[in-house]
């Protein structure tokens, strides 16, 4: 983590309807970071954002912004601005008044207000709509107005709650790229919540993966992808969930762990002596690390179950002899059809191991 954190959670707890939602939550965000909280629906990520904004109260621990506790400060006085999932623009005000409202309440001088509005309007290309009401704008335009409203406040911390989820897919991609560009030029410390791992991977400087109200892993997008902390992260991040197969662990001649999959030994690059005792082990391999071959040319035989053709690549679902399913990636449009016999070749050097508790073990980075 970068030196002094801009935002810090210290043992934060939150109780909801008598249920302990968060217990002892601690993490820090560096100045200028684009920090993405990633997790499935109901993992508590939006609540976390609302705790920072002051829209929910904290039931234990401290939230510090630049070293000062903010969890007992009123939302408007925390120096944070937020882009809401539904944008929450003031429907009866023009776009310009939407941007000016918070500044007027903060008694910013009028000439300063118009300067900031003009700057933000230019940066986000909303100048033509400044006199319009939000209801007359498209979803993408409203999204940019919401972002502009947050930015004119010059917040110490910019919060975004699923800012792209209300847009249709084509617009989402375009807006995501604009957002990446804007965030680079602004260098504002940002916390964004999303359930979309592509948004997280492409926008974040660091990602915090959450599941069932617990932090699963904090790391750069590549760390999260290459060295997932546990089975959940491994299967949540990635275009298609990582294949996870149960089997037995062996030690190979070179001190590395080998994985016995129904009598087929897959040699991994993970050091065997470093592994703890565990009643059971699972092997993790991404679809792109499994290659389809002729039936007898691979390490194991399988049958094609069904094929998902995405255009630039295909996901071939194959069924092993014992009925377990594995997904393998094929570049281009797959010619396989259901029921074809194939062989599978595993790239053991890129494999991960998971112990009985789901903790992950990876090969050392060379």
């Amino acid at each position: 983590m970068p030196s002094a954190p801009a935002l810090e959670f210290r043992n934060v707890a939150k109780v909801f309807d008598g249920l302990r939602l968060f217990d002892d939550l601690s993490f820090g965000i560096g100045k200028g970071e684009f920090f993405v909280i990633l997790g499935p629906s109901g993992c508590g990520k939006t609540t976390l954002l609302r705790l920072i904004a002051g829209l929910e109260s904290v039931d234990g621990g401290d939230i510090l912004l630049h070293g000062a506790p903010i969890h007992n400060v009123a939302p408007g006085d925390r120096g944070v601005a937020m882009v809401f999932q539904d944008y929450a623009l003031y429907p009866h005000m023009s776009v310009a008044d939407n941007l000016a409202f918070g500044l007027r309440n903060a008694r910013v001088p009028a000439d300063e207000i118009s300067r900031r509005i003009n700057d933000a309007a230019r940066a986000l290309a909303i100048e033509p709509f400044l006199d319009r009401k939000p209801g007359k704008l498209s979803g993408g335009q409203q999204q940019r107005v919401a972002l502009a409203r947050a930015l004119v406040r010059r917040p110490d911390l910019l919060l975004m709650d699923e800012p792209l989820s209300s847009l249709d897919p084509a617009l989402r991609l375009r807006t995501r790229r604009e957002l990446a560009h804007i965030s680079k030029t602004l260098a504002a410390t940002t916390v964004m919540v999303t359930h979309d791992q592509v948004e997280a991977m492409t926008l974040a400087s660091r990602i915090m993966v959450m599941h069932e109200h617990r932090i699963q892993q904090i790391g750069t997008p590549l760390e999260i992808f290459m060295r997932p902390a546990n089975v959940f992260v491994a299967q949540f991040v990635g275009a298609t969930p990582m294949n996870v197969l149960a089997g037995n662990l062996r030690q190979t001649a070179r001190g590395k762990a080998g994985f016995d999959l129904d009598g087929t030994l897959i040699a991994t690059a993970i050091k065997h002596p470093g592994l703890p005792e565990s009643p059971s082990w699972r092997l993790g391999l991404r679809a792109e690390d499994i290659t389809l071959t002729a039936p007898d040319a691979g390490q194991i035989r399988a049958t094609v179950g069904f094929v998902e053709r995405l255009g630039e690549q295909s996901w071939v679902h194959v069924v092993l002899g014992d009925g377990r399913e594995v997904v393998a990636t094929q570049t281009g449009v797959s010619q396989y059809s259901d029921g074809d016999a194939v062989g599978l070749s595993f790239d053991g050097a890129r494999a991960h191991l998971f112990d009985a508790d789901g903790m992950a073990y990876h090969a050392d980075v060379s």
């Binding site: 003031y90 009866h92 309440n105």
Partner: protein, 288 residues
């Protein structure tokens, strides 16, 4: 093809149109015609032009009734709208307590005017009324709410507000619930004061409902009848006689139907103008 479809459309609105023409437009026109005749309940009508109208404006009793009605509406509607809005704002929250209070406020609207006036007579009457007991208890002279010419109209305003609060409150509540919670949260992050939130977020969202309620309540309260008829019979000295009671007495006690019809036309014109004002205001401002 288009023509046939046009006829089919007409078929669908025909039941409504027939009832509308027969029970509303036809009587309205009959009323206008009647107001230009000297007519009584036993038939026999003579055309007299606008004489009924000129007679009305020389009629002190009618002028008093007109004044009473305008004053009643001017007192009643603002109080009713303000109290209903305040209640809606206060009760626009989750929880059993707020839900119970909403039902209690709405409950009074369910009572018929007869029941409602009987209840209020027990409260307001000088001899043995609830309020006179309270006044005597604290050693004050009981007020004659229903027989003091200065108190009788305000008393009618009070009981009418109590009786009519339910519907405007429900209309305001439903408008309030259309406002997303996130807009209020955005305002909190924008450091808005409670007044600023009300002025810039809540009130603009309420404007259509507000205009509707004002127009509706004006039209309704101009037709004040049951409360004074049952409580005061227009007294004392005509101080609580509204236009509808005047029309009723003229038509059905004095059998002077043409004259009553003329008074009805004036009331109708008055209601029409007042009900249209909010609509016009809305057009002119071009907002809401």
């Amino acid at each position: 093809m288009t023509e046939r479809r046009g006829w089919t459309h007409l078929l669908f609105v025909l039941p409504f149109l027939a009832v509308y023409l027969w029970l509303l437009v036809y009587p309205l026109l009959t009323g206008v015609s009647l107001s230009l005749h000297r007519a009584n309940l036993f038939g026999g009508a003579t055309f007299i032009g606008l004489e009924n109208y000129t007679r009305l404006f020389r009629d002190a009793t009618f002028r008093q009734a007109l004044g009473n009605t305008v004053l009643f509406v001017a007192l009643c509607v603002p109080v009713l709208v303000t109290v209903a809005l305040a209640l809606a704002l206060a009760l626009n929250r989750a929880g059993r307590f707020a839900a119970a209070l909403r039902s209690i406020v709405f409950a009074s609207s369910v009572l018929s005017v007869t029941v409602m006036t009987i209840v209020w007579r027990q409260v307001l009457t000088v001899d043995g009324g609830l309020l006179s007991h309270v006044a005597q208890g604290v050693g004050a002279r009981p007020l004659a709410f229903l027989s003091d010419p200065h108190l009788v109209l305000p008393s009618l305003v009070l009981i009418t507000v109590w009786w009519s609060l339910g519907l405007p409150m429900i209309l305001f509540l439903s408008a309030l619930q259309q406002i997303p919670r996130s807009v209020y949260e955005a305002a909190a992050l924008d450091r808005a004061t409670p007044w600023s939130v009300f002025r810039h977020v809540t009130l603009p969202a309420l404007t259509p409902a507000l205009l509707l309620v004002i127009a509706y309540e004006c039209a309704l309260q101009f037709q004040l009848f049951g409360q004074p008829q049952l409580l005061t019979q227009g007294g004392p000295n005509g101080a609580s006689r509204p236009m509808v009671l005047y029309i009723y007495e003229t038509g059905f006690n004095h059998w002077d139907v043409g004259y009553a019809a003329a008074a009805s036309q004036i009331l109708f014109a008055l209601i029409l103008v007042v009900a249209l004002v909010p609509q016009l205001a809305r057009r002119l401002w071009g907002r809401a």
